[in-house]
């Protein structure tokens, strides 16, 4: 009882917007769950893909915002799984049509941008075009 009271009066509890904002976002999840019954032909690949990106970005946002918002994180994590499932259903439904294409430009662009993003985060110096961008003297011992 005491912990429930503490929750009610907490600065991120049901008396604040920090609680009701994420609660309102669960509407997206419910709409997605209702749409699971739709046949794959009626799924819009663009909207579902956009929803996947949207929830991925907002999971990170919920983690980094002050105060950290676990409810929003949970909401977008579940939306992400629902939308990924819908995306897989859509992809399966359109696989026959897409298989005839030889060069899937969108998939290639996605892979290349993920690769460059990963390189930029882990080892920014590799993306520099300079040929003299050595960060340590020749023969320096590796730290790993």
């Amino acid at each position: 009882m005491a912990s429930f009271k503490a929750f009610l009066n907490s600065p991120v509890g049901p008396k604040t917007t920090h609680f009701w904002g994420p609660v309102a976002n669960w509407g997206f999840v419910l709409a997605g769950l209702v749409d699971m019954k739709k046949p794959p032909e009626m799924i819009s690949g663009n909207m579902t893909g956009a929803m996947c990106m949207y929830s991925a970005l907002f999971m990170r946002f919920a983690w980094m915002v002050q105060p950290r918002n676990y409810l929003l994180l949970a909401c977008h994590a579940s939306n992400e799984s629902v939308q990924l499932y819908q995306l897989s259903r859509w992809a399966k439904g359109t696989w026959e049509k897409r298989r005839k294409k030889r060069f899937h430009l969108r998939e290639w662009l996605l892979c290349i941008s993920v690769y460059f993003f990963g390189m930029m985060k882990t080892n920014p110096s590799t993306l520099s075009l300079k040929s003299n961008n050595r960060t340590a003297p020749v023969g320096a011992p590796n730290s790993y």
Binding site: T16, T17, H18, W20, G21, P22, V23, A24, N25, G27, F28, L30, A31, V34, M47, A50, M53, Y54, L57, F58, R60, F61, M64, V65, Q66, P67
Partner: protein, 99 residues
């Protein structure tokens, strides 16, 4: 010099382009934009639950953006616009259904 300072202040802002506080709302504009493109679609294709979710989540989310740190006016305008487009779509569908 002023231009350089302005660019630097934007680049290093706590809700600037190096942070998730910038890119998350920037991407969310796609949802409002899709709703606006759908203004010309027939009212039968509008779904009551989805548009109601947009209105509720939009306005409550707009309020939420003013109480978080850092205050995110980009996301505020985003959510507010989403709520308004939801109201417009609901009105379209309601007038279509009752006529």
């Amino acid at each position: 010099m002023n231009a350089k300072k302005l660019v630097e202040s934007i680049w290093n802002h706590p809700a600037g382009p190096r942070t998730i506080h910038f890119w998350a709302p920037t991407f969310k504009w796609a949802i409002s934009a899709t709703n606006i493109f759908n203004f010309s679609m027939p009212p039968d294709s509008i779904s009551y639950p989805q548009q109601t979710a947009f209105v509720v989540a939009g306005f409550i989310g707009a309020r939420y953006c003013t109480v978080i740190t850092p205050k995110n006016w980009n996301l505020f305008s985003n959510n507010f616009a989403l709520g308004c487009t939801g109201i417009y779509q609901l009105a379209r569908k309601a007038t279509h259904d009752h006529s």
